[in-house]
Assembly symmetry: C2
Homo-oligomer: 387 residues x 2
């Protein structure tokens, strides 16, 4: 389903679909966000002591009020992180990309993270989906958070269908601020959209205000997430002050391309996505079959070089699997000059990903024993109905 977003008819990026190689400069303009500037980066470095590769390389590249958030943090105001997942299937590496950065923020700034599992949304969105399935997948997806070493004492997972009592007293107030017209214009809903989908955005916005209710004071919330989620936060920011909450800030990551010729890495195309639950050998095979920016033949590759800027394999290195900036630069040049063939480049990535998955899956399985430590409901009382 292609859902148009007002003002972005030429750029296919919605919460439900996105192209692989998006013109992100254009997207910033269309969405009305700000490019990440030296000011925010210096501020972050000063507070965190270093910079994560995803910031150095502008994998996180645009924002709303990230500067405000960092200044509030610096001045000692209460701050928190918020991101989430629609549990429509197992997690792939495109999903964990922003979570890796979120974990780094949690460690470096000592922040609590509120993580929403939208089992209701994924049930509503897919005609054939069962709620019992999306609910079970939510618990599976929590294992991925544990495998990323997120701190369970500071990571609070909300599963919509089970933890609605934490959201509803706030959601009721949020819903009153939003007309059907706004939802329609923002998310492209039509008369045939089910009323679950129509209501759902309210719940995603609500979590941005939950920390303020749970702590009983203004909490400044930063949302690290793909820019495809931006429409939710635009509305949330519009209504925040009228509800007495600080505006949530965002930092947007670019979307990891899928291994096929087009589209972001997506659960709807499993053969082009590397899942955290994939057998490492299967993951290797997917990578070896990936669509690259290379030439049709070895001879042409040697002569003309590849195009790493349009290559799903290079993007995997750049965005997740090569921490060393110098080595990444060397790989870029070796590709461009025809010195590196796609087969070699893929084989090396396949090896790294395989090792990563073996370690990840060991931690993932171990986490089944302390999964409940991650649940919000084991640590907080629901907020009361307030004015």
């Amino acid at each position: 389903m292609v859902l148009p977003i007002v003002g972005s008819e030429e750029v296919k990026v919605t919460p439900w679909e996105a192209e692989a190689f998006v013109d992100y400069d254009r997207l910033i303009k269309v969405f009305g966000a700000k490019a990440l500037s030296d000011e925010e980066i210096d501020l972050l470095k000063g507070l965190a002591g270093e910079l994560h590769p995803m910031v150095r390389r502008r994998v996180f590249y645009s924002h709303r009020d990230f500067d405000v958030f960092l200044r509030m943090f610096k001045e000692g105001f209460k701050c928190a992180l918020y991101t989430g997942r629609g549990p429509s299937g197992h997690t792939h590496v495109g999903h964990i990309l922003p979570w890796i950065f979120t974990k780094w923020l949690q460690d470096r700034l000592g922040l609590h993270l509120f993580f929403q599992m939208t089992d209701d949304e994924k049930f509503w969105h897919d005609e054939k989906q069962e709620l019992s399935v999306t609910n079970r997948l939510a618990y599976e997806n929590i294992l991925d958070l544990a495998a990323l070493d997120l701190d369970p004492r500071k990571t609070h997972v909300i599963i919509d269908s089970e933890d609605i009592r934490y959201l509803y007293p706030i959601a009721v107030k949020v819903a009153k601020k939003i007309t059907y017209s706004t939802q329609k214009a923002t998310f492209g809903f039509t008369d045939s959209t089910n009323v679950g989908m129509v209501f759902y955005p309210v719940l995603q916005m609500t979590v941005a205000f939950l920390p303020s209710e749970l702590y009983g004071e203004d909490v400044y919330v930063l949302i690290p997430a793909g820019i495809d989620q931006d429409p939710y936060w635009r509305i949330a920011r519009d209504i925040a002050s009228s509800l007495g909450y600080p505006k949530p800030a965002q930092i947007h990551n670019k979307l990891l391309p899928g291994l096929g010729p087009e589209g972001k890495m997506s659960s709807s195309k499993p053969e082009t996505a590397v899942y955290t639950t994939d057998d490492p050998e299967v993951a290797k095979q997917k990578i070896m079959k990936a669509f690259t920016g290379g030439q049709p033949t070895v001879e042409l590759q040697r002569k003309l070089g590849g195009n790493p800027d349009r290559c799903s394999i290079f993007k995997m290195y750049e965005m997740m699997f090569e921490e060393d900036d110098v080595k990444l630069q060397e790989r870029y040049h070796a590709c461009k000059t025809g010195n590196l063939l796609c087969g070699e480049c893929k084989a090396e990535l396949a090896e790294r990903v395989s090792k990563y998955l073996i370690d990840f899956q060991r931690k993932r399985e171990k986490a089944r024993n302390n999964l409940s430590d991650f649940l919000l409901r084991t640590k907080f009382n629901p907020p009361k109905v307030s004015k």
Copy 2:
């Protein structure tokens, strides 16, 4: 706000507005319900041992599947009652009319009652309303249930904003079955309707299915309520079997007219409504000022007689405050023949209502001590997310 209902453009009866003296025969046709027939009445009498005046006089006058409900009850299938209240203010006698009959059913058939307090809906519906106010009023309204002697062991009140965890696992499935188009056509929503109102009908329908989830078996539910609530149950019945629940049955009461020249008794016109919390003297004054079916002068009344069929005072006797059929008939004739003047008729009603309120208010205040006994949450665990 006048909300058109499909197929009923000429009859102003919606969940939010109704005329005083409705052509109920026409309404039955417009809504596609069935008139209460001798078959259902005999069946009820056989099971209950007697007939409530509200049935004898067709205050409850139409239904959907009331016959099916009674047969299922007779055959020993699990059955329950469901009704509710939008806590926008204190309760008036028009509200308690169906509750009196519901209490009678509870006693006579030994049924459990699920009672929904829609503090969310009333907050959403009125731009200037606060959730803290509707929530507080929900608790005030519970006192009225207690004053009516409903059995707290068999009366389970759901307050939407606080008990959402009982509803949401079911509501998620209900919401997927209903398109925005259906809500729009049924309730007259527009682009400027807030998304809370758009979602709300899902929650009202959900309670019809809650008993089946709480007991883990098919529960046949009867909803005694004004026909103005029928649109909710039409949709609920349409989707019930696809969700694996029995269709809820209904029995519709006529609406008590307000004491003014037009409109049902309504909280939006407090001077024409007798509240259960009114000072008995104030209630008397309201009744003495009521608009009647009488003539402009005593002389004309003596000569032409009054019109009890269009008289708010006679309807109060007929629907609630005269149990004796013979005495009611005598009053009718005395009015028609000009032998009874409006002043006398009002004074007698004022006296009865005043006595009723004194007794009611004593029980109402006493109930503050055991209010929590009526709450669903003190007696049941929330249902789990099921398939």
